[in-house]
Symmetry: C2
DNA sequence: AAGCTATATCGTAATTTATCGATGATATGC
DNA sequence: GCATATCATCGATAAATTACGATATAGCTT
C-alpha cells in the first residue's frame, strides 16, 4: 500500500544463532553493488536514493532492490524526507557484523608463560 | 581428471578492488551451512571431509560443494592425506576478511581537541 | 485538481545457487 | 589384481537472485 515505506529496519533477529546471523549479513554484503552502495553511503554520511542510482551503472529499480536487501539486513536505514528518501549506513549494525566476523578468526594459540 | 585435487587455493585475486574482494568473501560466507562448516573446522582445528558431512544434515555431495566454495574463496584449505582429505580453516584469510569488514565500519567522528 | 518527481513494487527473463542421487577417480587393504 | 572407502564431479531439478522496463504511489508544485 505504501511504496514509500522503508520498513522499520527488521534489525537483529533475536531467534537466530550467531552462525545464521553471520550468514544473513554476509549474504547481504555478498554482491559488489551492495558493497559499493554501502561504501558510498559511508563516504557521504547520507544521501538520497537518486544519488546512489547516479553513482551506479544500474537501473533505478535494480538499485532500489539492492537498497531493500541492505535495509532488510539492517545495514542501512532510510528515512522519508519530503519527496526524497534519505539513506544512511547503520554503523551500529556494521560494527556488530565486524564483531561476528572477528569472532570467527581464531585467537593465536596462547603460549603459556 | 583428478577428483582429489583440492585446487591450489586461488587465494587472493590481485586484480580485485576491496569492494569486489569483500563481496566475494561475503558471498562465500553467505550460507548458514558454510558458516557452520567454518566454525566446525575452527573448533576442531582440522578434520576429514567425512566428519563435516556427519556434522551437517546435508548430503555428501552438497557438503562437498560447499567445501569447494569455501576453498575457492581461500577460506579453507584441503590436503590429501591418504584416503581422506584433511580440511582446515585459513586463519590468515579469515583475518584479512575481518579487516575488510572492519574497514567498512566508520571510525567514530573524531572530536578535535 | 493536475502534473511532476522520486522511489518502491510488479512482472518477467536470465542467471546462479542449492540440493540430491549417481558416477568416477584415487588410495588402501586384501 | 580386486573390492572397498572416501571424496569430487556430473546431471537434473527446484528455488533464489539479479536485472530490467513498466507501473503505481506519495508528496511537491502550480
Amino acid at each position: 500500500m505504501t511504496p514509500r515505506t522503508c520498513p522499520p529496519t527488521p534489525a537483529v533477529d533475536p531467534a537466530a544463532n550467531p552462525d545464521d546471523e553471520l550468514a544473513r549479513m554476509a549474504a547481504a554484503l555478498g554482491h559488489p553493488a551492495r558493497v559499493r552502495i554501502l561504501r558510498f553511503l559511508l563516504t557521504q554520511r547520507e544521501c538520497f536514493a537518486g544519488a546512489i542510482v547516479d553513482h551506479l551503472p544500474l537501473a533505478q529499480s535494480t538499485v532500489s532492490q539492492h537498497l531493500k536487501v541492505l535495509r532488510e539486513a539492517g545495514l542501512i536505514r532510510g528515512e522519508v524526507e519530503g519527496l526524497h528518501i534519505c539513506y544512511c549506513a547503520n554503523s551500529e549494525r556494521l560494527r556488530s557484523v565486524a564483531h561476528l566476523v572477528e569472532a570467527l578468526v581464531p585467537t593465536p594459540p596462547k603460549v603459556p608463560s
